[in-house]
Symmetry: C2
Subunit: 197 residues, 2 copies
């Protein structure tokens, strides 16, 4: 196989922040479940209580919600090596308000709430891993929140293209518009305006 084996991928991801010995690696792997979703299939829907956090090893997931007018708002796109899920629902075990849908045939590893707790009990340094992971996510969400209230749609679009070029060319403009918080029509206008420069 060309792509790294999914467990090597997640161990490398974890290895950014903590070192594990072989038995810890085995224990960690044993607490994960494998999952997959065909293109257009839902991994999760509103109303469900989130049972897992997801780590994508192949493909692309779209995490989004519908507002009261039925308009989609994309919270994130998760491609290879991304962690995703609905943290609020997972953490507090309350019904989610999000859809998670596969945009491509997707494979992922999952960790359940109880295994998540067990992981911390058995290998406490995973607290450190997730502390670092969340710290980084927090930094990027703080930035994105500020961008959302201070920049124009065109500026946010350019930032997305620069930051996630490999995501931008895998998703539709419609989905990208839903991530930027604008209509597909307006994104189309922005693009034609930009290409004329």
């Amino acid at each position: 196989m060309d792509a790294p084996y999914k467990y090597d991928l997640i161990l490398k991801n974890v290895g950014r922040f903590i070192e594990l010995n072989d038995s810890e690696k085995d224990l960690f792997k044993s607490l994960l479940t494998e999952g997959s979703a065909k293109r257009k299939e839902f991994v999760m829907q509103p109303g469900e209580i989130t049972k897992h956090e997801y780590y994508v090893t192949k493909g692309c997931l779209k995490v989004y919600s519908l507002d009261r007018n039925g308009v989609q708002h994309v919270s994130m796109f998760a491609i290879e090596d991304f962690w995703t899920g609905d943290m609020a629902s997972f953490m507090l075990q309350q019904p989610s308000t999000y859809y998670i849908k596969a945009l491509e045939d997707t494979e992922f590893l999952m960790i359940s709430k109880s295994n998540f707790e067990r992981l911390f009990k058995e290998i406490p340094k995973f607290e450190r891993f997730y502390r670092n992971l969340y710290q980084r996510s927090l930094v990027s969400y703080v930035r994105r929140t500020n961008e959302g209230i201070s920049l124009t749609a065109e500026e946010r679009y350019e930032i997305f293209l620069n930051k996630y070029p490999h995501i931008a060319n895998r998703i539709t403009q419609k989905d990208l518009a839903a991530y930027l918080g604008i209509t597909p029509e307006f994104l189309s206008m922005i693009r034609s305006k930009m290409s004329k420069r």
Copy 2:
């Protein structure tokens, strides 16, 4: 004194997620520094490399940045029992882009980058504390990001009033508008429209 002593306050905050024995409490306290700022005084300015994370024990801090047109955008208001700072600058030790300014005479406890690392080394369960703290912050920033791109200013204003009524009546409308990402004039219009209902 009426207000709980500042160290009791922070220990209670930490106690939400981890239990400390007396010697751990003493060690933790020894790693903190006390600080204060008079109304209108800056705690931090852009260009500085953030040396501390802050825990407010009294008063109110405003964390904000200026965009290229000189318009203020407020990232957060930190009142008693709030943790704040510029995480990106603190974590990566690179120059900050934020101002932190006291809106009232304010007192806080600070932890330096090196003491932060030492804390994790000496009392590893603090990894758990910060893992939980960041996990919660992440949940609220994910929500705020989505609100920013999917709701009208009026809706976001109502959410703020419901969620932080005790903050809303301590800050100016100008600062609140800068938090919502709108002009003070438009917030004023929203308010007069709402009061006519």
